[in-house]
């Protein structure tokens, strides 16, 4: 068998109970490579969200001596975008896994696009924070 050959598992959805049932109680088993790749994509989203949290902590500590409204807002915005990024990752994992099992087209790119816009806005906030003269 060739290394890159797709394997289609002819299993039924009724084999065992897996969590969450909203994903695994539908359709047929996809190629294991696709399932594993889907999880790696989720892990990439999770790492991005963790990085945003770390950035929020860093901004909070950088402005510890002289905190001002903008720095706190930016730190909280990064936390919120982190939550959103994690949610997008879970949602996309969920939708993609279902699509793979149901042999349907994969979800579109609107969620990640929104997330990218939010991160660009947060980046502009960091630039403004750095350029704003401190008292």
């Amino acid at each position: 068998m060739a290394d890159n050959e797709v394997m289609d598992f002819d299993g039924s959805a009724a084999t065992g109970s897996r969590y969450p049932s909203g994903v695994f109680d539908v359709g047929r088993e996809p190629d294991p490579l696709y399932t594993l790749a889907n999880e790696r994509t989720y892990l990439s989203w999770l790492r991005l969200a963790i990085t945003l949290l770390a950035a929020a902590v860093a901004i909070d500590r950088l402005f510890l001596e002289h905190p001002w409204f903008g720095s706190q807002i930016l730190a909280l915005a990064l936390v919120l975008i982190g939550f959103g990024t994690c949610a997008v990752g879970v949602r996309r994992w969920w939708a993609t896994e279902r699509a793979l099992r149901l042999r349907r087209p994969l979800p579109g790119f609107s969620g990640p696009l929104l997330s990218t816009v939010a991160i660009v806005l947060a980046g502009l906030g960091v630039v403004l924070l750095v350029l704003t003269p401190r008292r």
Binding site: P20, E29, R40, L43, L46, R47, V57, D60, Q72, F83
Partner: protein, 110 residues
């Protein structure tokens, strides 16, 4: 089934990259959690470092057991997909929410 069927997808077990990326994500999450906790409760850094080493040992042991199970299941065949659900995805997302709340408290309270 032959004992070497674990190599169905080539020279590499298909889940190795997942294991590596899981470990990276959990390490990052644990790092942010540790730093935030130290800052939030003004904890003794040495004590937290010691506890972190214990945590790392436990995580390493769990990862080794998980990998062993993956290898065994892959050698059996496609049972790998019958036994693995989305527990890690949902669990890590919940852990992220907990750490995110801690960071929010750090920003608002400190």
């Amino acid at each position: 089934m032959r004992d070497t069927s674990g190599k169905l997808w080539g020279r590499q077990y298909p889940f190795e990259r997942n294991h590596l990326q899981r470990a990276m994500a959990l390490t990052g999450l644990a790092g942010v959690f540790g730093v935030t906790t130290v800052l939030l409760v003004h904890a003794d850094v040495q004590a937290v470092f010691g506890i972190s080493l214990l945590y790392a040992g436990v995580v390493s042991a769990v990862a080794a057991v998980s990998r062993h199970r993956y290898v065994r299941e892959t050698r059996i065949g496609f049972a790998i997909l019958r036994s693995r659900g989305g527990g890690f995805v949902i669990g890590s997302a919940l852990a992220f929410i907990a750490v995110g709340i801690l960071v929010t408290l750090l920003v608002l309270l400190e």
